[in-house]
Amino acid sequence: MGSEAARLERKSWYKRNEIAATPWLFLIPGILFFSIYVILPIFQSFWISLHEWDGLGEKVWVGTANYERLLGGDRKFEVSFWNNVRWLILYLLAIPAGLFIALFLNQTVRGIRFYKSMFFFPFVLSQVVVGLVFSWFYLPNDGLFDVIMGWFGVDIKGGVLGNPNTATYGIIAAGLWPQVAYCMILYLTGLNAVDPEQVEAARLDGAKGWKMLWYVILPQLKPATFIAFVVTIIGALRSFDFIAVMTNGGPFGSTRVLSFYMFEESLSEFGFRMGYGAAIAVVLFLLMLGFILYFLYSMWRDEREAR
């Protein structure tokens, strides 16, 4: 006994606490960089948002003045906010669209791999390229879309992207193209994992068509749906590239979203109002925090159930 205790004592501190300490050792680099590059800037943004600062000179403390202006009837902010909401809602159309394309492609026909890769193709393109292609597609007079609308006698004044009533929807449609492909690939992998015995059993019980889809297939696709939901929400909040390429926020600011407005205020050619830009960033962060907490909660819940 005594010799055992002596042997333990002779061991180093690390040896004695190996089980508890090792995970932390592995986590240290991650925690370090996550704190420096993610956590710290969040607090810095919040700090800057309480000042007026051009990025060069002295910061001037203004308290909550930036927020009062932002939330007290800044029209640009209101337009951006509602556009963000439009993006979030309409972008979710990518999930059912992706699902149906996946169901459609989930069959064994000659050359199906080729068709699948064709459908997946837009996701491989850079967002900038997709935006450019769509802005040509939407061109007034010469653009294909305008020509097609002309056959139906519909004339959109200024073209899709030049008309403040249609521009945001036009950009969302462009964004949906690659996003649908992404959801499709997620569902295609999900469909591979569907249990054929369950499908067989359901068929024996007389389920087919919509009932089969709703009660048998979809529940088994739940993990894929969750991931598709997460990436689509993130995609909707990352709409910056499309807007910058297709309309640059115009016409007269009608396609701005919060991230684009933040960029304009703080970093663009006529910007460098860091305090105000930071205030927008903080508001955007709080909005995203809602989604992040929801995702974390559902993941935590799933893990607990799985245990």
Binding site: G158, G159, L161, G162, T247, G250, P251, E269, F272
Partner: protein, 422 residues
């Protein structure tokens, strides 16, 4: 005999050289070390000019090494802040007037009033005002260019039209052009600033240069009846359908085909657009230029002529060399050379320079020297503070597309004015 004389002479010569050197300070060839320049002259022709300048200056001063870095012109508009605050170069490119203000306020540009006090700089007097903030000068100009109406001479001749001198003639011309199935003006307002050019001209012709600059300084309300008068005049053209349709979806380059193809007959633009129009096949028999017509006969002509500049960073390492470089680029013969037709193809600022034999450069020089008594504007986005310019140009674009929204636009601009200039 000779040897006796020689020694004192040599000594005298030597001492006079050293005295001269002491007086001149940085002037003579005593410059040494390294001169770091960051330039935004990234388009092909300007780039060649800048590289030539750097090489020549390097050769003139054997002990001095000139290190030149050329940055994309658009990117430089946002990079200049970082460039000036961390490891700053000695000399940088920028723009005159209000665009200098943030850097002057932040102490990043060096006060070069001492250069402007030298007699040679009297030749640059025309732009001294645009380089002055708080009674000091913060940089030197190297080129500028005129704005005006570039029009299709062949179509004007076909329709029997003359260059208009008054607003009534302008409107009558436009009606004739519209009747022939064309548009009067091409414009691309996707990036907003082109609408600023129209506002500069209509407003300064309606209310005069002093009023326009007072508006830029935030001393006049945007809802003022005189501002409304400007918009009323402008609206006359909009209501006629004078501008091409859907201009909010085009950049200024994308608006060029309309004038090149003859679907529109004129373009209010800076002289830099001439090269592109010539490339499109409009030679001098098809393309011509006129000064924006008089609207209110009681006010003098004011012209947009944006000035591009060189500045010394306040943290420059080699100030002597930097100042000498500024003297070099403002000298009459250097400005003649860099602005000639095969170089920048623009106007030299130095009054002692001669100008290229290009038709448009000469017309522009004539106009700015003799027919711009009201004053020289630097352009909407340089005369107005940055935030006012961005809000303003967005409003101008909206007005051009939906003129009925004017009240709302003006109320918004007035809101912005009260906040920005406080």
């Amino acid at each position: 005999m000779h040897s006796i004389f020689k020694a004192p002479l040599a000594a005298l010569a030597a001492s006079s050289v050293s005295i001269a050197a002491a007086f001149a300070g940085s002037h003579a060839s005593s410059l040494s070390g390294e001169l770091r320049i960051i330039s935004d002259m990234s388009n092909p022709a300007p780039r060649a000019v800048m590289e030539g300048l750097a090489a020549e200056f390097d050769e003139m001063h054997p002990d001095l090494t000139v290190e030149l870095e050329i940055v994309d012109r658009e990117a430089w508009k946002t990079q200049i802040r970082n460039a000036l605050s961390a490891n700053p170069p000695d000399v940088v490119n920028w723009y005159a007037a209000n665009r200098m203000l943030p850097y002057v306020n932040a102490g990043l540009f060096m006060d070069v009033s001492d250069l402007w006090a030298e007699p040679e700089f009297e030749a640059l007097a025309s732009t001294k005002g645009a380089m002055t903030i708080d009674g000091k000068q913060w940089g030197v100009p190297y080129t500028y260019y005129q704005w005006g109406v570039y029009y299709r001479k062949d179509i004007f001749e076909e329709l029997g039209l003359q260059e208009p001198a008054t607003w009534d003639e302008e409107v009558a011309n436009c009606q004739a052009i519209l009747d022939s199935g064309r548009k009067c003006y091409t414009i691309g307002t996707k990036f907003l600033w082109t609408a600023g050019g129209w506002f500069d001209y209509v407003n300064s012709r309606t209310n005069g240069y002093d009023f326009h600059m007072a508006l830029a300084r935030g001393e006049v309300e945007w809802t003022d009846p005189r501002v409304r008068q400007t918009f009323d005049n402008w609206r006359q053209l909009i209501d006629m359908g004078a501008f091409i349709d859907d201009h909010q979806t085009y950049s200024w380059q994308e608006a060029l085909p309309f004038i090149v193809d003859g679907e529109a007959t004129a373009y209010l633009m800076g002289n830099f657009a001439v090269a592109a129009m010539r490339d499109g096949g409009l030679d001098d028999s098809k393309l011509d230029f006129y000064q924006f017509p008089v609207i209110n006969p009681d006010v003098d002509y004011a012209e947009d002529a944006p000035t591009d500049t060189f500045h010394i960073a306040s943290a420059a390492q080699n100030v002597d060399a930097a100042k000498e470089f500024l003297r070099f680029v403002t000298s009459a013969d250097v400005q003649t050379r860099i602005n000639s037709g095969d170089a920048l193809g623009q106007l030299p600022v130095n009054a002692g320079s001669s100008i290229g034999d290009d038709k448009f450069v000469q017309q522009g020089f004539e106009m700015l020297s003799n027919n711009a008594g009201g004053g020289i504007m630097q352009f909407f986005d340089r005369d107005f503070p940055a935030e006012m310019a961005s809000v303003g140009m967005e409003g101008l674009q909206e007005f051009m597309v939906f003129p009925d929204n004017l009240d709302d636009v003006l109320a918004r601009l007035e809101d912005a004015r009260q906040r920005i200039y406080q």
